[in-house]
């Protein structure tokens, strides 16, 4: 798992461990120092108590010294020590009370000592008053009674006990202070040594790890630098190609701009042609409408012709019927003539003239029959011609109908042409407007392409700069590798 730690982790761990040890050492040192300071304070306190005790005895001795000088001399000047000791004695007693508040033994001794002090001071004041009022002997009797000495002995004893106890405490606190100082020294020394050892190990491990990782990183940097160099070179080449392409695009866009202008002009021409086409379509529509009216008139005339032709066909048919009757009559006449000839032949000589008549009648009938055949042929020709005429007329009618339909289609086509021409005009104008907008856009694109070309040149310069920087980075990584290897070696 330690192999996966980063350099920062390792450094943080090494420094963290050292800091922890330093913290422990500091805490122990602080604790020890605090105890030492406390011991010193208590020692000072004890010395203060001792001084106060000594000050109480000293002040009492000063007061007694002043009292005895005054008693011997009667001079008021000798009372100055007595007067000066009044306040300090009481202050020292109060200080002792306060300084030994945590010591019940000393408080008990103070409880015993305070009446003795008061009694001593009262005895001193009484003797001084007696010396003033009754003279030296009255005062001397009191002194000789030993009362004052008794008070002082008791006080000396109590002070001696208090002093002894304080000195005992002072000795104990001195031992404790030495023990604390010794422990602090041991802790500081051990902690420092342990911290140094851990820091040495951490430095070794971190240095080694950093060396390996830096070597790998430098190798990676070198590889990346090589790739970056190649990429920068390629980018520079690409930038040059892009610059060339931008120039070509700019040329093409200029051509496109020219073409757009030509398209706009063509669109204008198309719009004019479409207008002319629309006008022509309107004229054609009017012409076709007039032609359609004429065709309708022709159709009516053709219908009349067809009616006449059909009537003629009927008449021809009726004539054919009559001709059939004539033909039949001629045939009957012919038969009659033949039979008359037979009868005339049977009549002998007297029937010869009748035979001539019969023969002529027969010939006439034959000629009539021939004529009826001719007439039938003529009638058939007439009927055929009528039929052909009717058929042709019907064909003409159909053609007229078709023409009418086609004219309707032509009219619709003209209308459609007109609509398309209008649409074409609108479209051509839209094309013109769009082409102009396109030309404007193309000009903007041309400007943009020029900017791109400028940016490409800057990119090319930047690529060259990058290439130079990469070369420097490669050199730097090589130097860094040499430094790391030298350090590793």
């Amino acid at each position: 798992m330690a192999q996966n730690w980063t350099v920062g982790t390792k450094i943080a761990l090494g420094f963290g461990l050292s800091l922890a040890i330093l913290a422990v050492v500091g805490a122990v040192t602080y604790r020890t120092t605090d105890m030492l300071i406390e011991n010193n304070r208590m020692v000072t306190h004890t010395h203060q108590v001792l001084e106060t005790i000594a000050h109480v005895l000293s002040s009492l001795k000063d007061a007694e010294t002043g009292q005895r000088g005054y008693l011997l001399t009667g001079e008021e000047g000798y009372l100055e020590p007595w007067q000066a000791a009044q306040g300090p004695i009481r202050t020292a007693m109060a200080d002792l009370r306060e300084l030994t508040a945590d010591n019940p033994h000393q408080q008990k001794r103070l409880d015993e000592a305070l009446p003795l002090v008061n009694a001593k001071l009262a005895e001193l004041l009484r003797t001084i008053e007696l010396r003033r009022s009754q003279g030296a002997e009255a005062a001397l009797r009191v002194v000789l009674s030993g009362e004052g000495k008794q008070y002082m002995d008791g006080l000396r004893r109590l002070c001696s006990e208090m002093d002894g106890e304080e000195r005992e405490l002072l000795r104990d606190r001195g031992v404790a202070a030495e023990a604390s100082a010794s422990a602090a020294k041991t802790t500081i020394l051990g902690g420092v040594l342990l911290g140094l050892a851990i820091m040495v190990v951490a430095a070794f491990v971190i240095t080694r790890s950093l060396s390996e990782q830096l070597t790998a990183a430098i190798a990676s940097i070198r590889s990346s630098s090589a790739e970056l160099e190649a990429a920068a070179a390629q980018q520079a080449s690409g930038s040059r190609e892009q610059s060339s392409a931008a120039a070509e695009v700019s040329t093409t866009i200029r051509e496109l701009l020219s073409t757009s202008k030509q398209i706009a002009e063509s669109a204008q021409r198309v719009a004019r042609v479409a207008d002319e086409t629309a006008a022509g379509a309107r004229r054609g529509d009017h012409t076709v409408q007039r032609a359609q009216e004429a065709i309708h008139a022709i159709k009516r005339q053709v219908d009349v012709i067809v009616g006449h032709m059909l009537e003629l066909g009927k008449k021809s048919q009726q004539a054919g019927g009559i001709l059939e009757i004539i033909n039949e009559l001629a045939e009957q006449t012919n038969i009659l003539a033949i039979n008359a000839t037979i009868e005339a032949a049977g009549a002998g000589e007297s029937g010869k003239r009748f035979a001539v008549v019969a023969d002529e009648i027969r010939r006439l009938a034959e000629r009539v029959g021939g004529s009826t055949k001719e007439i039938r042929g003529l009638i058939e020709d007439i009927r055929s011609a009528v039929n052909s005429t009717v058929m042709a007329t019907e064909g003409g009618t159909k053609a007229v109908d078709a023409g009418t339909t086609q004219f309707s289609e032509v009219t619709a086509a003209f209308k459609q042409i007109l609509e398309r021409a209008i649409v074409t005009t609108d479209a051509a104008r839209e094309i013109e407007i769009s082409t102009k907008q396109q030309a404007t856009a193309v000009e903007q694109v041309n400007v943009a392409i020029a900017n791109v070309a400028q940016a490409t040149k800057q990119t090319e310069a930047s690529s060259s700069q990058t290439l130079q920087t990469v070369t420097q980075l490669t050199t730097l990584s090589r130097g860094l590798l040499q430094i790391v290897r030298r350090q590793a070696a």
Partner: protein, 179 residues
């Protein structure tokens, strides 16, 4: 067309008038009259002198008879006549066509012979008629031919045909003709 018809009528009228204005026929070569008839698909000629008349066929009442050539009876010119099929007599067909034309004979019995079509009447010189002697073969019903401009037609021997009709049934062999 109107002019052509008027011309035709004028020519007809002129020809009719001229016929009366012309003199009688001068004696010369003998002229013979023939009926040009059509039997089934074949064309024949019939001497006008051998028949008593020609007419359109009337209603024919069929008879229950074993003679195939007898078509039935018909009333013509106020007389009941037996109607025979010329085609059957000439052995051309055994069918019963409409046969709208009848050639009439009065002697010795009123008989009618039906044929299919009447092509017309011709009067030709005797030189155009190739006569043949009447053979003893009673079944031969044609005799001679007539030469016309367009074709040659066998001449039906109406006398022998009428004799064949009068001959009792079963005494006659298969009919033959010169054609």
């Amino acid at each position: 067309m109107k002019v052509a018809l008027e011309d035709n009528a004028w020519r007809l009228r002129q020809a009719f008038d001229d016929s009366f204005a012309a003199p009688a026929v001068a004696p010369g070569e003998e002229l013979l009259d023939f009926l040009l008839v059509q039997v089934t698909t074949r064309r024949f000629a019939v001497r006008l002198s051998e028949i008593a008349g020609v007419t359109r066929s009337q209603a024919i009442v069929r008879l229950p008879t074993g003679r195939k050539e007898l078509l039935g009876l018909s009333c013509i010119r106020g007389a009941i006549r037996s109607v025979y099929s010329m085609a059957a007599m000439l052995g051309l067909s055994e069918t019963q066509p409409p046969m709208p034309w009848l050639a009439l004979s009065e002697r010795p019995d009123p008989v009618a012979v039906a044929f299919d079509a009447l092509d017309g009447f011709v009067r030709v010189p005797r030189s155009l008629v190739l006569e043949a002697a009447r053979s003893d073969d009673r079944d031969r019903l044609t005799r001679g031919v007539i030469n016309l401009d367009t074709m040659t037609r066998p001449i039906v021997d109406m006398q022998r045909l009428l004799d064949t009709i009068r001959k009792p049934a079963g005494h006659r062999g298969p009919p033959r003709s010169d054609s």
